[in-house]
Symmetry: C2
Subunit: 328 residues, 2 copies
DNA sequence: CTGAAAGCGCTTACAG
DNA sequence: CTGAAAGCGCTTACAG
């Protein structure tokens, strides 16, 4: 009950050797035009397509990139996913999608990636214990942490320059007459949230200003509740710096509910520039993450490491920019 | 430069045959506890993991499901993606993610899926020409169209019952005192948009009411612009039925911009029940798609077809329900 | 229950 | 440029 047709079948029909068939489909191999044509004609007739598995078994490489994502619910990530999918497709790679529920990726989550011997890995918005990550190193599989920096700098990472962004946002708000500020953070211990806060604090410190910190969780509901609490406690600041846009939208809705005027009574600034930030209902001032460049840097690194593994490591940080709208 | 360690290495260390090693990792094969333990100990020591490619080459099956998605930008889809990823993981399958830009999936988009000999395929929110789809049939690869019905009913599809939903929405609005309605459609020729409209029209027809149709594109911007046009032309109806939520939010923002009171001056109802619909800024009345059940039906079909291919075909339609909020 | 051997569909030195 | 042959790392009848 042999059902799939293989290179041997094509070879027979084309009247050439199996090796020649293989050469037609293997990039970089040499075949005469005549042989190529015969093979392609036979292949067409039989509906032949090379088996990727046999191919990978021999070459010990695959054309698959593992993409590990957490929190696809944040509208920032669908954008990232789309761009990665397109970029990898453009380079001839397919995407094995792994969804993780936890902030720290578990060994089982990435077992698949190792079993399939992926050519490279992108991990977005999540970290990973050192010894789990090491298994990629051991197999010389290049790995990029996207939008998350590890405390141990033994892996390549690509982020927006969050420290500078925090600073710029601080200076911007001070120029707008900031008196007291609240920073609404994302999940604790995420590098993105921490660095944005650090830069912000540094800027304010230069003018001996301070800020209050409220810990939240990078979700709309989290931003909404946090703001409601602040309103209830009568501790409304003159400006909110919110660690991401989706939370900032929650903050805006909480303020709206209490008929607090933005930006007259309080200013709000977010981070990411998700598409919803520009909606008329919000018109949120925010910091744009340079997603395209971030994706490009990630893909370029992976492609160069796949071609020629070096294990080089860097913490790439790309500058974003302020998008001024109506909440400041 | 042999780098990966294989079953033979483990066999040698464990003092058994390679076949025995294989049996330990192959579900359903019989090995004595003693052998199993020896093998597992040796495997642990060497860091062995079975090569999926060699395995697939022999069994001619993979543990990969192809997931083809369009328009991940609509917040409805990240939810769907997450649920599929979790469900497939639970069944021991990985997800090969394919992003397509066009409404109709092209042959090249799915070439990868055939090359990797995926065990099954889910296509969301897009259609596919019959002859492209046929190549899956030829290879006995089960295929489900998710949230899209094909005109030719030769494939399995899973949708919300859009016709009934349209009807119910029509009856609901009429009970609320509908006089004249506007239906804002999604992309033309999508089954979801067409069936929602059809049901809606049927319901209205029973009371000899009619509706005006405006064609849009399932995006926020599309809904926004369409509503602005209607306002400009002074053809505001007493209610809008908008083919999906993200467009409905655009409609609400357009109305807000012109200070038109919802629901006093005009009612708005959407479709999908995306998380943003419940946000205080919108409080959109909508129709909830039973995503969980839809995903479950899809996964169950695929798993049963993978276990035992029958090629059976059905257009599954699951009932959703009205979520009443403040825009009606 | 276990091992030796064949074979899945490819790539790749090696001769010619 | 081309073909015959070995081999990638597994699974699976087949004997024992």
């Amino acid at each position: 009950m042999k059902t799939t047709i293989n290179a041997k079948d094509v070879a027979k029909l084309a009247g050439v050797s199996q090796s020649s068939v293989s050469r037609v489909y293997f990039e970089g191999a040499k075949v005469s035009t005549k042989t190529r044509e015969k093979v392609l004609a036979a292949a067409e007739e039989l509906g032949y397509r090379p088996n990727e598995f046999a191919r990978s078994l021999i070459t010990n490489r695959t054309k698959i990139i593992g993409l590990v994502m957490k929190g696809v619910q944040n509208p920032f990530y669908p954008q990232v996913l789309t761009q990665f999918a397109n970029a990898f497709k453009h380079h001839g790679y397919s995407v094995l999608f792994v969804h993780t529920n936890s902030d720290e990726i578990q060994a089982e989550d990435i077992e698949t990636l190792l079993n399939y011997n992926v050519a490279g890995v992108v991990i977005t918005d999540a970290s990973m214990s050192l010894n789990v990550a090491e298994s990629f190193k051991a197999n010389q599989i290049p790995l990029v942490f996207f939008n998350r920096k590890l405390s141990h700098s033994t892996f390549y990472s690509v982020c927006c320059n969050n420290l500078n962004a925090g600073r710029s946002i601080g200076h911007y708000l001070m120029a707008e007459g900031l008196r007291d500020a609240v920073y609404i953070s994302g999940n604790e211990n995420t590098s993105t949230s921490l660095e944005r806060e650090k830069g912000f604090g540094e800027a304010l410190d230069q003018c001996t200003l301070t800020y209050a910190k409220h810990t939240s969780d990078f979700t709309y509901e989290g931003g909404y509740k946090t703001a409601l609490n602040i309103i209830k406690n009568n501790t409304l600041p003159s400006a909110f710096f919110v660690a991401n846009d989706i939370m900032a939208l929650g903050v805006l809705d909480a303020l709206r509910k209490h008929a607090i005027q933005v930006p007259q009574q309080v200013k709000v600034i977010g981070f990411d520039n998700i598409s919803m930030s520009s909606w008329p209902a919000y018109e949120l001032t925010t910091w744009e993450q340079p997603i395209e460049e971030m994706v490009e840097a990630t893909v370029n690194y992976l492609m160069s490491e796949i071609a020629n593994y070096s294990g080089r490591v860097e913490a790439v940080e790309i500058e974003g920019k302020l998008i001024e709208r109506k909440t400041t």
